[in-house]
């Protein structure tokens, strides 16, 4: 295994530019997530790494080797597609064994590897099932096992959770992370779901309109967003004195010296917390909205109501 480096990648479909000067290094063994809205170019990056697209400009390096123009079948990348793309004419085991058969591995080796990866993904009892007899979560496991069985130099996951329901999604992302850590495989994960990105990744790259806006650990991305897009796409934020400040970093109080006087405009009860929209009038007379969240601590908590006057504090 080695790291994967994208150098100055640009690409256009027809005349529409979808990637614009992408520089990115995916370090050996890390899980890096590309996070961005649909159409931002994240899947194009994955397809360029996989070899389905040759970029108009730039290079893809695997360690020392320039693999930009290599055919997909020669790259040894494990891919999990959004719709899984399992071979419907094959059983679970045959799907997993497919890549190994192409590599002309011996029968015993194939048998051993299939068992290993079926065990890893919890599929042992489904070995002989046809893939269309499986549930969405099970199909995803097959897709992961199939991608891992070839012992790829890198695992590429293209929005793998988007076809799963919410509770399964949370469980699967934990499983994926556990498997990834266990075998230590370099992984590129693609999603538009910020929660998913923050919870699973070693590093996150936030993308918009064909560019990478910010790259860092989940905590860095969340706590110190560099641009307003990153700040808004990953959670909600308030722009105060040149800084992006998260709603939970603000607090409402009864009065005091440093608070900004505001009026509560709207209250949303979200279960775990309350979300307030408050408005303050600045020196020039312009109204400014802020979003504040406060944890619901049960009976001890005194909630605010629309129309209340309050003071806004920054909890830093």
């Amino acid at each position: 295994m080695s790291n994967i480096v994208l150098k100055g990648i640009s690409h256009a479909y027809e005349k529409e530019k979808v990637l614009n000067g992408i520089d990115l290094t995916i370090e050996e063994g890390e899980l890096l997530t590309l996070l961005g809205p649909s159409g931002c170019g994240k899947t194009t990056i994955l397809r360029i790494i996989a070899g389905f697209i040759i970029p108009d400009e730039g290079a893809v390096l695997s360690g020392e080797a320039d693999i930009t123009k290599w055919a997909p079948e020669n790259r040894n990348m494990g891919i999990v597609f959004q719709n899984y793309a399992l071979f419907p004419n094959m059983s679970v085991k045959d799907n997993i064994a497919y890549g190994l058969k192409i590599r002309k591995k011996g029968r015993d080796y194939i048998e051993e590897k299939c068992r290993e990866y079926m065990k890893l993904t919890g599929l042992l009892e489904y070995e002989k099932r046809k893939v269309n007899e499986l549930s969405g979560g099970q199909q995803q496991r097959v897709a992961i096992a199939r991608a891992l069985a070839i012992e790829p130099q890198m695992l590429l996951l293209d929005e793998p959770m988007s076809n799963l329901d919410v509770s399964l999604r949370t469980r699967m992302r934990e499983e994926i992370r556990a498997i990834q850590k266990k075998i230590g495989i370099t992984t590129l994960f693609i999603t538009h779901d910020q929660q998913e990105a923050l919870s699973i990744s070693d590093r996150v790259a936030v993308m918009n309109k064909g560019r990478i806006l910010q790259i860092g650990t989940p905590k860095e991305i969340y706590d110190e967003p560099e641009r307003s897009f990153a700040a808004d796409f990953v959670g909600t934020s308030n722009y105060i004195n040149g800084h992006f400040i998260r709603p939970e970093q603000l607090r409402l109080g009864q009065g005091g010296e440093k608070g900004i006087p505001v009026v509560v405009k709207d209250v949303k009860f979200m279960g775990m917390y309350f979300e307030y929209t408050v408005v303050c009038t600045d020196d020039s007379g312009k109204a400014q909205n802020y979003c504040v969240t406060e944890i619901n601590r049960g009976k001890a908590y005194r909630e605010w109501h629309a129309g209340d006057t309050a003071y806004l504090y920054v909890n830093l």
């Binding site: 494990g78 399992l86 497919y98």
Partner: protein, 562 residues
């Protein structure tokens, strides 16, 4: 790296040699034969000129034949359109529990070769047919109540055999109508007629136009009906066979060119029209729910049409099965023959000479379909995957026989292969065994190609990428992933092609020889030699083969038909 280059060169070689073989076959068996016919039509005793065509067009009898042909095409479209659309509407919106069995019955004429139906119709409605004689007996008539001959009789046969294209295409199109649209329109107080005009018609228009093309083409190229019950009503296809029989290949070629031009121009006109008006894409949002009362004039009319249609479809099959178990003598002498016997079948089973045509037909059909699939499956895959002008050109050539009535294809082949040809490795094919399977394969190409293309388009594109990413090259992926996943579509198209070839009559009449005499020819000659029983027993065997095949198609391609 050396290994990788090797793989690339190998797949390049594979693709290159495939294109060469494909170009060789399509040029040699479709383009060149047609050009031979065109050249032949200009060939006169002293060089080349327009005199054949001038002579032909200045003869009022010949102009009448052309007019008859066009009339037959138009009448087919009209009759089959009305019947087919009504049946499809009824089956979609009104049919209840009986739906499935009625649907299968309505589709079955597609599976029965035209020549068998015509022979059976003659047994029913001909001069000494059961229905004719029955009516005479019932009403004490001194002569037959109708003459089952000429234009009317041909249209009658067509109405009960060729409506299937309209019916099936429109039935499928109706499946994709968003039923909530109809409910919304009804909710706004729109009348049923307006709902049909404003909501349903625009949705089914593309299917209607496709059906018009297919039905018109089958109308102008129909041969068995005009040949066997046409009487004095002559059309181009029958005249082509006559010209060939009299060895007037120049005249036959002129007729072929005219027939081809009629076919092509109508096809292009309608395709132009459908490109202009027929571009409707809609995803089905909600299924048809049959509710409400089933009354009204239209509903009653549809019911009558459907009952008549089913009787008309079942009757010939029943008649042919019944008569095949009766000895020929009692067929000839009794109104309702009762001399039951198994002799007709025993003769076929026992006498090798009598069994041979059946074996020939099965063998030739299988060969034709196998060859057709070998050509169309990879082409469909290449076209869907790469588009590109070369692939599109090959696609066009493969679809070209769609515009060629059977008699056109046969005459083209005669003109190209009655002498040694480099495309037949310096052999003459006429009179030999292979000319018929080749002709069958050519007519099957468009059908096979389109069903393969639909199947390939239906494949999840990521499957191929998944296979590639796991290390498979193009060829491996094609064999292990693409083929198994389009197999149901390939099989359904292949079986349909097989059925059409097994009872093929027009090309067979023009091209058969001692080595490849097919069953359709034997049926007609046996009938003409008054060995009715054998002819009908052949028919029953073919029908059984076709119904088994029909069952298989339904199994493979449920989605398309139900």
């Amino acid at each position: 790296m050396k290994n990788k280059n090797h793989i690339k060169i190998k797949s390049g070689l594979l693709k290159g040699s495939w294109y060469i073989v494909l170009a060789f076959l399509l040029t040699g068996y479709i383009v060149v034969p047609f050009l031979c016919t065109v050249i032949k039509s200009f060939q006169t005793e002293n060089g080349y000129g327009l005199s054949n065509i001038k002579d032909y067009l200045s003869n009022p009898n010949q102009l009448r034949v052309i007019l008859n042909t066009v009339m037959l095409g138009a009448a087919s479209v009209l009759v089959c359109g009305i019947v087919g659309i009504m049946l499809a509407l009824y089956m979609t919106f009104l049919a209840g529990r009986e739906k499935k069995i009625v649907h299968i019955l309505l589709l079955s004429p597609m599976m029965i070769p035209g020549v068998i139906v015509v022979i059976s119709f003659i047994q029913l409605y001909g001069e000494s047919g059961m229905v004719t004689k029955g009516l005479e007996y019932l009403f004490h008539l001194t002569e037959a109540p109708f003459h089952f001959q000429g234009f009317g009789a041909i249209v009658f046969v067509i109405a009960y055999t060729q409506y299937v294209y309209f019916y099936l295409n429109i039935y499928v199109a109706l499946k994709y109508i968003d039923y909530s649209l109809i409910e919304a329109a009804r909710g706004m107080g729109t009348s049923k007629m307006r709902v049909f005009a404003d909501v349903i018609w625009p949705e089914i228009l593309p299917a209607v136009l496709t059906s018009v093309i297919v039905t018109f083409a089958s109308g102008i190229s129909s041969f068995s009906a005009p040949n066997l019950i046409g009487g004095g009503f002559k059309v181009l296809s029958t005249q082509i066979v006559r010209s060939k029989a009299n060895n007037h290949m120049e005249t036959a070629s002129v007729q072929v060119v005219i027939l081809f031009l009629i076919s092509l121009s109508v096809m292009m006109l309608i395709q132009y029209y459908s490109r202009k008006y027929g571009n409707i894409n809609s995803a089905r949002a909600s299924a048809v729910v049959r509710t409400g009362k089933k009354k009204g004039i239209f509903v009653s009319l549809c019911r009558i049409v459907i009952v008549v249609q089913i009787i008309m479809v079942v009757l010939p099959v029943a008649a042919i099965v019944y008569l095949s178990f009766v000895d020929t003598k009692s067929i000839m002498t009794m109104i309702f023959p009762r001399g039951f016997t198994l002799e007709n079948y025993l003769i076929i089973a026992e006498k090798g000479r009598v069994l041979k045509p059946l074996i020939n037909s099965i063998k030739m059909s299988v060969m034709a379909v196998a060859a057709g699939l070998a050509i169309t499956v990879p082409t469909a895959y290449m076209v869907v995957k790469y588009k590109g002008k070369w692939n599109m050109l090959f696609r066009m050539l493969i679809m070209l026989p769609w515009a060629m009535p059977a008699s056109v294809i046969a005459v083209n082949l005669i003109n190209a292969f009655n002498k040694k040809s480099i495309f037949a490795f310096n052999q003459s094919l006429i009179g030999g065994f292979y000319i018929l399977p080749i002709a069958y394969a050519i007519t099957s190409l468009p059908l096979l190609y389109s069903s393969n293309e639909v199947a390939v388009q239906g494949i999840n594109k990521n499957l191929e990428e998944a296979s590639q990413s796991l290390g498979a090259g193009m060829f491996y992926t094609f064999i292990h992933v693409i083929i198994p996943n389009i197999a149901p579509g390939i099989m359904a198209g292949g079986i349909l092609g097989l059925i059409r070839n097994i009872g093929e009559y027009t090309m067979s009449a023009l091209l058969y020889g001692v080595y490849n005499r097919p069953i359709s020819i034997s049926m007609v000659t046996n009938m003409q030699e008054f060995k009715m029983g054998i002819s009908l027993a052949y028919g029953v065997i073919v029908i059984i083969i076709c119904y088994v095949a029909l069952g298989l198609i339904f199994k493979f391609d449920k989605e398309k038909y139900f």
